[in-house]
């Protein structure tokens, strides 16, 4: 892990602008979220290709589907709770069911709005979107993954949901042969006693947890799942087989979330002891750091759950 921390909205916007220079089909649609989606420069460079519909998420997603109908590749950028919550039926009918080529970019997901509270937290987005047929879900964990995921999304034919965080994260892609591949996971640390499956902001925390576990002579594997739909089934099944215990750590609800996805897969094939860590209730007041710790998503919390699971706590 590098010490440099990145707000992933920055590389997101840089890549979107680079794509827009090269391909005039790229357009942006937002709900007044020009600054919170970091679209200010895009608007300056491509004023005609930026559609700010105002604070109207249902119209925002419908407009994007209409733009896609003409061959444009709209990136819909909005705070994830409002995009996925307010416009769920538009995402279902206009994008997923209509097979419209719309990229849904849920900004600042999880508890990254910290003290603003549960109305602004987006802990349900993965569960809601995962219930929809044919909608890929991609959750980059760092700068490099974000850059690769944006390029992938532009090239992918079909709707997709990307979760782009504002909470600053270190690189977890150092030493990886490739930062992001659709449908693939990244083995960011190998181990044999337990596997910690993490995504987004929890990946670096899972790596730190693995360090703590190593001090207790517990060998923890860490898998970074940045493609939640489709899931890298092979890597997860291998992890279950080879390490015999699975901990999932995610910045969202486990029910229906990544934890649910992993549990569904393993229940049908290789049931192993599991522990699902997530933001599983409306959060109390506090900063992002406080809340992640509160829900057991700190290095210590993940390590404790893992040690407990393998019986060596």
């Amino acid at each position: 892990m590098s010490a440099v921390l990145t707000d992933c909205r920055v590389p997101f916007a840089e890549e979107l602008i680079a794509l827009a220079h090269a391909d005039e089909r790229i357009v942006a649609v937002c709900n007044d979220s020009v600054s919170s989606s970091n679209l200010g420069e895009f608007r300056s460079l491509f004023p005609d290709r930026m559609f700010n519909v105002g604070i109207a998420e249902q119209n925002m997603v419908g407009v994007a589907a209409g733009l896609a109908n003409a061959g444009f590749i709209p990136f819909v950028c909005a705070a994830s709770p409002f995009l996925t919550g307010r416009a769920t039926e538009q995402i279902k009918a206009d994008v997923a069911y209509s097979r419209a080529n719309v990229k849904l970019v849920g900004m600042s997901p999880g508890v990254s709005y910290g003290e603003l509270g549960p109305t602004h937290h987006s802990i349900e987005d993965i569960a809601w979107m995962r219930a929809l047929d044919g909608l890929p879900i991609v959750t980059p964990a760092d700068e490099q993954q974000t850059r690769e995921a944006v390029k992938w999304a532009a090239a992918y034919e079909g709707g997709a949901f990307l979760r782009i965080g504002r909470f600053k994260v270190p690189s977890v892609s150092d030493g990886q042969s490739r930062a992001f591949a659709f449908g693939a996971s990244n083995l960011v640390r190998d181990g044999s006693d337990v596997t910690i499956i993490a995504s987004g902001v929890t990946v670096s925390r899972a790596l730190a947890a693995a360090e703590l576990l190593a001090d207790q002579s517990i060998s923890a594997r860490v898998l970074n799942i940045s493609s939640i739909v489709p899931l890298d089934r092979d890597a997860i099944l291998r992890a279950a087989q080879e390490t015999g215990a699975i901990v999932v750590a995610e910045e969202s609800v486990s029910r229906g979330g990544l934890g649910g996805a992993v549990a569904e897969l393993l229940a049908e094939s290789i049931p192993v002891p599991m522990r699902l860590l997530g933001v599983n209730s409306f959060a109390p007041t506090g900063s992002v750091e406080f809340l992640l710790d509160h829900f057991g998503l700190s290095a210590e919390g993940i390590a404790a759950a893992s040690g407990d699971l393998v019986g060596r706590a």
């Binding site: 559609f51 105002g54 419908g62 407009v63 589907a65 209409g66 109908n69 009918a93």
Partner: protein
């Protein structure tokens, strides 16, 4: 594939009022028979919107049934997707797909679901059914045409009860703000929704004043007057146009007209025979 109807309407100059009226009658007859065969459908809303569809496909839309994906086609969206059978009948008679498909309506694995699906039905632009979806998508189509410098237009048909969905007012607001003169919203103002009259449920009047306040030009017309429809749908404006088509739910068959219970009631064989007589066959 071009159909007899498409040829009659388009091959020898603009379609006459009488030709569009015949087309509308054939759409109603086809709709009636299709719903009776399937035992499912929304006949009241199908018949209120029929003259609007006949005018659009007979005289207004620049589309090509032989090439439904022609990039520069006008975009038409039936937001009140429950009136699917009238749309399917119109598209089939126009030659977008074979008429035999209508016999499969709602059958197992049919392309013709109870609500239109763009991936299965040529001529359908977006999947509709849940209300309040088509208007924002049409707005996106109009913005896309503008961005591409195309003269093509976007048309959307909305049920009047459907306007109780807030997403339509988001679209009215943004369409007015952008002054989208290449977008026309048509309200099928039959004054009935599934459960009751619109004005007893959540009243819409004065609808013209409401849409004018959002920056649109309201054109209130008789939605069964084919020439008035053509005029309202083709006259230019400096603002986006909302055609408020005053219609009769179930139009064309006396015992179906203006009755809430015929929202999705299915006619019996005897009723079909009576209705066909009233519809000119």
């Amino acid at each position: 594939m071009t159909s007899d109807w498409w040829g009659r309407l388009h091959d020898s100059g603009p379609a006459s009022t009488a030709e569009v009226a015949e087309f509308a009658a054939e759409i109603r007859r086809t709709t009636l028979v299709t719903i009776n065969r399937a035992g499912l459908g929304h006949i009241g809303g199908d018949f209120s919107v029929t003259d609007i569809l006949a005018t659009l496909y007979g005289r207004v839309l620049r589309v090509d049934p032989g090439n439904p994906a022609w990039p520069d086609r006008d975009r038409f969206i039936l937001s009140k997707g429950h009136a699917a059978v009238s749309l399917y009948s119109t598209l089939a008679l126009s030659g977008f797909f074979p008429r035999e498909w209508l016999d499969t309506f709602t059958g197992p694995l049919s392309a013709l679901n109870g609500h239109p699906n763009r991936t299965k039905v040529p001529g359908v632009e977006t999947n509709t059914g849940p209300l309040g979806h088509g208007f924002p998508v049409a707005l996106g189509c109009a913005l896309a045409a503008q961005l591409q410098g195309s003269e093509r237009r976007a048309y959307v048909v909305l049920g009047d009860g459907e306007l109780q969905e807030g997403s339509n007012w988001e679209a009215f607001m943004y369409g007015g703000h952008r002054r989208l003169t290449n977008l026309t919203a048509i309200v099928d103002r039959n004054r009935l929704q599934q459960g009751d009259r619109t004005e007893n449920t959540n009243s819409l009047d004065p609808l013209d004043a409401k849409v004018e306040a959002f920056g649109w030009e309201a054109r209130v017309i008789d939605g069964h007057d084919l020439d008035a429809l053509q005029h309202a749908l083709t006259s230019p404006s400096t603002r986006p146009v909302a055609v408020i088509a005053e219609t009769t739910k179930g139009k064309g068959v006396s015992f179906i007209e203006d009755r809430a219970e015929w929202h999705h009631k299915v006619p019996s064989a005897d009723q079909v025979a009576l209705a066909l007589v009233e519809l000119g066959r």
